[in-house]
């Protein structure tokens, strides 16, 4: 049902939301991979929780500076204009309203914008890191996730069952099947992966979806 390159198209579609002048934080995993689809010369400042504005490309271990990792632990480089600072300043950028966009992974996301991505009681509780502040305080919060979990169960729910990272924080959800926006009217289906029907999406979405009047743009 989902074409082989659906994941790549999701990442490319998410990357299109990163526009000139933004300061952006990309979560570990799928969100970090969005970078591959951001034009190299686009003026974007990549923020990392551990005290970097202007994160450069990842580097091979052989070229790594042991003092320079991103918040996911990957060795990275600088670009002209990079700055380093302490962790309090780093979260001042987040909480103070200077972070334009964050893209995060999700265990569960709900139609009302609730996000759960840090704890599965009894199974996975390593601490939230900086996720709560990113989710609560970035000017725009996007979730990037496969539409269903590895067992085929919906990840976009009518209500989160796991403890929340932040409530009502998510603005947009990118999946391998669809783009959905959290609106006052509910979760709106705004774009659909090429080759899929609306019914395909509805079949694996637990949350109610507000459907468009006309045809859906594809990605």
């Amino acid at each position: 049902m989902v074409s082989l390159n659906a994941r790549e198209r999701m990442l490319r579609r998410a990357a299109a939301d990163i526009v000139a002048g933004m300061t952006v934080n990309l979560g570990i995993g799928l969100p970090t991979k969005v970078l591959r689809y951001v034009p190299a010369n686009l003026p974007v400042c990549l923020h990392s929780e551990n005290g970097i504005a202007g994160v450069g490309a990842p580097v091979a271990n052989s070229d790594a500076d042991p003092d320079l990792i991103d918040a996911g632990g990957a060795y990275v480089s600088t670009i002209p204009g990079t700055s380093f600072f302490d962790s309090a300043v780093s979260f001042a950028i987040v909480r103070g309203g200077r972070l334009d966009l964050t893209m995060l992974g999700a265990f569960e996301v709900a139609g009302n914008g609730d996000l759960a991505n840090w704890i599965i009681p009894g199974k996975f509780s390593p601490g939230a890191g900086g996720a709560i502040e990113l989710a609560q305080k970035a000017r725009k919060v996007a979730v990037i996730t496969t539409h269903t979990d590895k067992n085929g169960r919906p990840k976009i729910l009518s209500q989160c069952r796991l403890p929340l990272t932040a409530s009502g924080c998510v603005h947009r959800i990118f999946t391998d099947m669809a783009v959905c926006d959290v609106t006052p009217e509910g979760l709106r289906l705004t774009e659909i992966a090429e080759g899929l029907s609306v019914a395909d999406v509805l079949n694996v979405t637990e949350a109610d979806l507000v459907l468009p009047e006309g045809p859906l743009p594809t990605f």
């Binding site: 000139a20 400042c45 923020h47 600088t78 002209p80 979260f91 001042a92 909480r95 103070g96």
Partner: protein, 230 residues
Amino acid sequence: MAMLDKTTVMAEAIAQIPDGATVMLGGFGVPGTPFSLIKELVRQGQKDLTLIKNDANETGMGVDWLLQNGQVRKLVVSHIGLNANAVRMMNEGEIEVEFVPQGILAERIRVAGAGVMGFVTDIGMGTLMAKGKPEITVNGVTGILETALKADFALVHASQADTFGNLRFTASARNFNPLISMAARKTIAEVKSVTPLGGLAPDDVHTPGPFVDHVVVIPELLEVYGVVER
């Protein structure tokens, strides 16, 4: 990945400030005061301003230009003792003045920049400074609640910047400048020189570029920035 060029013409940067705005100004005495940006604000004449700054400079200098031009409604400061004109205007009710202990002023600005709502401190307890402030008990000790101090605009004086707005300050001219850069919706920095990207080492940046919206290169330091003869 690349970085945005934030260099801006001074008149355009300052023109964004509307009447009635709350404006933070860097500087402790002369060092770090954004005299050129203030001069442009005087030229443009925005009215009814609330200014947040450590002090009111001296009579005939900086903040006093705005006071004498009738542009100021309120000052939030730690000390105005070197500006007799500001003291007179306060005493005659021409301006409102809110005095804050210097380090509490710094901290109220810093927590605003950190996206925090307020903080609890015992500074000023039992003095006039605590009057009317709510009391909060933390682990059995009582303090007073100080609220975050935000602004619409911060006007900053830095010695060096790159085009992305990474800033460096010199000596005691740093003072409130890094703090106000973080606490305003928009931050405008006047700088003596701007370097291309890469001109400042990442470890040497005092104020990271994401906090700065506009970099204005000033053609020369105004005379007022020289050594003050007393």
